[in-house]
């Protein structure tokens, strides 16, 4: 079989498994929920001012939802950027693009493999957070029913499905962030600049959201899409924010991904 995107993808994952930053990101994704639950258990208090915050002692299902809310400010953008911002730039750091681009895979296949590996890592990070926060939450607060944002009580089983679906919806803006990280990684050719750049972009968009006079932009900001999953926790389910998140994130991530691809395809691999 001729090598192609799948070959590059498999090897990109293999490279990620051999790098510390991957474990740093996934470790943070696992550790933060544990620290949160330990703090809840030891302090007995609850974050009442955020959605589902008041239920954290009633049901473990509330824990991943609160983590998703907290994590959207900088934690998940940073965890995503850790790999997205590095995946091309690390080839520049090690000067290895010339090594892999003189084999038998086309540049577009290399780029596609890298993009897929980045998305896989981002999905893994959210999955790890979801799994760990659910496990830790259920251990600490039990597997009980949860009250939706509309005030109706949802059974534990149905709540679990909704939490899973919320994690999936949360991936939409995460993938957009990953695309922006990839763009910065490709353009800056420097991991630190790309990671910080992605995080700054994410924070800047949040800043625009709180500027007076710009409230109208709110629904179209990338940061707002991190709350789209809350539509699932309403009765009946409100699909509007989820649909909006899909196209708004596509507008952020799509051009970034295309631009990154074009830069990667056309760049001179000229060394330092």
């Amino acid at each position: 079989m001729n090598p192609g995107v799948l070959t590059v993808y498999r090897w990109e994952l293999r490279k990620l498994r051999a790098q510390k930053r991957t474990y740093l990101g996934l470790g943070a994704a696992a550790l933060v929920p544990i620290i949160f639950v330990v703090a809840l258990v030891t302090q007995g208090d609850s974050p009442n001012d955020v959605a589902f915050g008041r239920y954290v002692h009633d049901t473990g299902l509330a824990i991943p939802l609160v983590i998703l809310l907290f994590g959207s400010f900088w934690m998940f953008p940073l965890i995503t950027a850790l790999v997205a911002g590095d995946i091309v730039a690390s080839e520049d750091r090690h000067d290895t693009l010339k090594t892999i681009l003189t084999r038998s895979v086309e540049r577009q296949q290399v780029f596609a493999g890298k993009a897929l590996a980045t998305f896989t890592y981002a999905i893994a990070a959210i999955a790890v957070t979801g799994a760990v926060s659910l496990d830790a939450g259920i251990l600490a607060s039990g597997f009980n029913s949860i009250v939706s944002l509309s005030g109706t009580r949802v059974s534990a089983g149905e709540g679990l499905v909704l939490v899973g679906a919320s994690l999936l919806v949360y991936l939409i803006p995460i993938i957009a962030i990953a695309c922006i990280g990839l763009l910065f990684s490709t353009v800056f050719r420097n991991s630190a600049a790309a990671i910080v750049g992605t995080l700054m972009f994410s924070l800047l968009v949040q800043l625009i959201g709180i500027l007076p006079g710009l409230e109208g932009l709110g629904p179209y900001l990338l940061s707002t899409q991190f709350n789209a999953w809350q539509g699932l926790l309403r009765s009946p389910i409100d699909w509007a924010p989820i649909v909006r998140a899909a196209w708004v994130c596509a507008l952020y991530g799509g051009p970034a991904l295309i631009a990154a691809g074009l830069v990667f395809l056309r760049r001179d691999v000229a060394g330092d």
Binding site: P3, R10, A18, T96, K98, T99, T102, R103, S104, V105
Partner: protein, 319 residues
């Protein structure tokens, strides 16, 4: 129909703003050649190689490898391998895993050749160590192993002996000689004349991005040729006498001092000696002189014209 040449480069240029790194290079490497691409550092050798491998786009001109365009598709690199500057690998993976990765990107049964390639370059015993712990020489050898995975018919090597100790340089040359003996065409970029002289049958000498000479080493040696060196009490007059003398040619100001010329026979030398004495330009030194390949290399890469013009101006000033 005859197979296209392993490398055909026509009118190749690479400009970075005002800087012209490669300037209108034409190059043909025939099957079986060990072709030396020789020039001082900064002459544009690596940039040319990067264009040949499709890593950077030419500003003008074309490259064909076995008739295929490496700018259009990586398929043009079928049967081609090599490296530019020092070969690079993932330092956090071991040598064998690095080759595994590259073999996967090669396909075509390359994975099955890993052990043999490691054996050839003498790295089997360190294959399980991370590349980050390898010396420069070991990375060079791993670079050759990575190239061999592709079973190349054409090998492009950029300064493969740079940074190696004398033993490593000898091993590298032996390896290239062996690969060539097996029928591989090799393009060897180097700034070391001795290396090229030892390994190559054909050579292109580049200077400031341009090819100053291209042809066989034999022809180059002939061009270097032999001649005579003459110093007189009055070189200006001596030159005029020599130029007028039958059987004497190529009279020019010698790089070191005096004049150099070629002679058809020894009797022409005798006649010149007499004519010089009669003209009043008394002979201080008249000796046979064998120009080395090195002389010619420096003349081609550093510019004989400039040197000669400088000396001629100095002579005119003295007169």
């Amino acid at each position: 129909m005859a197979e296209p040449a392993p490398i055909e480069v026509r009118g190749l240029c690479k400009r970075y703003g005002e800087l012209i790194a490669v300037d209108d290079v034409d190059l043909t490497v025939e099957a079986g050649d060990v072709f030396g691409y020789l020039g001082p550092n900064g002459a544009g050798k690596t940039t040319s190689l990067r264009m040949m491998l499709g890593l950077i786009a030419p500003s003008a001109g074309s490259v064909r490898l076995f008739g295929r365009d490496p700018q259009a598709s990586v398929k043009a690199l079928r049967g081609v391998a090599g490296f530019v500057e020092a070969p690079t690998f993932y330092p956090y993976l071991n040598g064998r895993v690095n080759l595994d990765l590259l073999a996967a990107l090669d396909g075509d049964g390359a994975k099955g050749r890993i052990e043999e390639a490691l054996e050839i370059v003498g790295l089997s015993h360190r294959a399980k160590d991370k590349v980050g712990t390898y010396s420069h020489g070991m990375r060079q050898r791993l670079g050759i192993a990575a190239a061999l995975l592709r079973q190349p018919r054409l090998l492009l090597l950029d300064e493969p002996a740079t940074g190696l100790d004398p033993g490593g340089m000898r091993d590298m040359r032996d390896l290239i000689r062996n690969l060539s003996a097996q029928g591989m065409t090799v393009l060897l970029s180097s700034h070391l004349l001795t290396e090229v002289e030892e390994l190559c049958n054909r050579v292109a000498i580049v200077r400031e991005g341009r090819v100053a000479y291209q042809g066989s080493l034999e022809d180059l040696r002939r061009q270097a040729g032999s001649g005579y060196l003459l110093r007189t009490t009055d070189d200006e007059r001596g030159r005029a006498v020599a130029e007028a003398q039958p059987g004497i040619g190529d009279v020019r100001v010698a790089p070191e001092a005096g004049l150099s010329f070629s002679a058809e026979s020894e009797s022409a030398i005798g006649a010149l000696s007499l004519a010089l004495a009669e003209s009043g330009a008394l002979t201080l030194e008249l000796s046979s002189r064998h120009a080395t390949l090195e002389d010619l290399f420096f003349r081609l890469t550093e510019g004989e014209e400039a040197e000669t013009a400088k000396r001629e101006r100095a002579l005119e000033g003295a007169a």
